[in-house]
Amino acid sequence: MPEPMEDYGNNLGGVGGALLEVADVSKTFRSKAGEVRAVDGVSFTAQQGEVVVIVGPSGSGKTTLLYILGSLEKPDQGKILVSGEDICAPGVDLIAYRRRRVGFIFQFFNLVTALTALENVALPMDLSAVPSAEQERRAVELLERMGIDRRLQRTRANRLSGGEKQRVAIARALANDPQIILADEPTGNLDSATGGTVVDILVRLAREDGRCVLIVTHDESILGVADRAFHMADGRLSPR
């Protein structure tokens, strides 16, 4: 297997430069109905503080790619280097990776419905054994930053509106202060105004905090905020 840095080097160059380096990643689903090559030889890099937007039609493999990057799905081939470390290599602590390195914003919010907004945001910290006072302090701070007021913080997740849910989901993704934010259709279930707000928030996470924000969407309008934009079709990625 060729050294990925050589073949898929980024503009900024150098192994130490890129926060995220994806090299020749493929994933094929096999079922009775047949084979689907959901992700097909995808390679790209992303830096700290960058907003990367991948646009593609439904079924083009966006979610699958994001799951692979979040370690929820194993690629058939290829490498994913995060700060130079291959998360697909055997023996990598995927639990720690999911907890600290990436924050996931799911296509369908995926909040824990029985918990309040505050408890949802505190949950990743709770799993990482953050002291409960600290959990609460940080969860309140994050929710406040997302514009979720005190009353909504104490509201059960299933009673929140779509936009509120999505903002709580973003706050939860930020709970353990990850460098990489993976957002799957963050505006998909929201009206355009609310969607705009959410995109603004995500952009600020890159600009203000210096995180790497990866957004996959079929919504071309988001392309405007991208530092780096790709088009995805039939599992293949092409720059725009």
Partner: protein, 504 residues
Amino acid sequence: MRALKRGFRSFRRHPAANLVVVLLLFVCLTFCLSMLAVKLAADSQTEAVKGRIGNYGEIRSSSGYMMSTFERERGKSEAERAREVRGMSEEEELEERAKTLVPEELADAFSRHRYILTYDKILTAGVTVPGIKNVELSSMLDLSKEIKEGAAASGITEHTFVFEGNTNGASASEFLNGSKRLIAGSFYTYADHLEANPVVLVERNLADENGIEVGDTVTARVSGESGKKAEVKLEVVGIYETVEAERQSQKGSFATFNPAGNKFFAPLSVVQTLNKTPGYVELGSYYFDSVDHTEELREAFAEARGDSDRYEFVTDEADYRLISDPLEKVGKTSLIGFGGALGASALIILLAMAIIVGGRTRELGVLKAIGATDRQVVTQYAVEVLCICLVAIALATLATALVSQGIGDWLLSGSENGRVVEEGEEASGYAAMMARLTERNLYKEGGLFSLPGGEKEEAQLNVVYQGRMLAYGILILLGISLLGMAIPVAWINRLEPARVLSME
């Protein structure tokens, strides 16, 4: 610790679903625990009964032998009998007098069996005490001329008293079972028996009527002897009263005649002398360790007795069975009920957890996706299961305390009805009548003159909440909780977050 908190929070946040499971479990567990309580009660009751009943036996002249002797005697005329006695040697005469008695050696030998705990030898005899009048007997004899003549022919007069002899006054069955009570003086002792000290215990009313006090002497006559050598002076060492007299006299007309009411108690050796049957006893009475060894003792007795059917070894096993059989039946039934209810509880928790976990696959996916280890997830669910089971079993424990006695009584009444039917099928007619006539009470129950079949103890079920129940409750709790945990454990291992998170 955090997983515990999360599990408990999850339990509180799903009140409706959990309540349904708790209720279903509660019903099953209540049934389960009640059955267990009944089973434990039945077992411990049986054990308790074992300590008191079924561990008594006595060696005595067999009913069959008594019957045939009786038949033979009846065929003889008074003159024949007198002639027979006159022509007898001393040994033959003793043999004749002791024909319905048991040789002391046989009784002694049997007492050495390893299961025998205590034993006593008893001889009851009609003894003439010329100086005192048996008021009750004489009023009976006065009823008709025939009775009086018949009685006189068998040597019974208004001065005839029942003498009961045993090896130790205090352990005479009526003193042991509380129907008689010493009120003055003291009991004769084993030493009195060994040394054949002429001492006696007298009934209170008889003592009052005849002005007898402790320390006085009464003169009794050795039966079959005459003249000076027939007289034995007996010192009154104690006076007793009959506690049960009142109750017995209410039982019926026959019971109002109670010759045992003014019975004399004396050392066995003294009664043997008075009855002129040295070396013979009416019965050997034994307490052994438990009803479980009845069969061994029977075999040992059969071996000691040899081929002769002259003696028999009878026990109060039937009394024990009368109590233990219904209890055993209840125990069996409740064990089956317990098993069924436990199975149902297991099924409920399995189904409930399958539904609960199945309904929360998305939550499981989220937890895994944000970095929960399988252990964290399983612990959280385990706590939730434990909470459900704990609440259910706590409620069930309370309910059990309320209903288990009722269930126990109900089961017991069911099994006793069965018994009554069996008794109804008992043989009737001549055979049954003869059987009843020859049915003798055990000495343990108060001896020869107490009423047969008076009060037999009945099976009772006292379902108390034993400490053992708590231990079993905890075991059941752990068992069904573990079973319930198996579901999330199995689920979480197969769960792929990528699959469940994209659903909507």
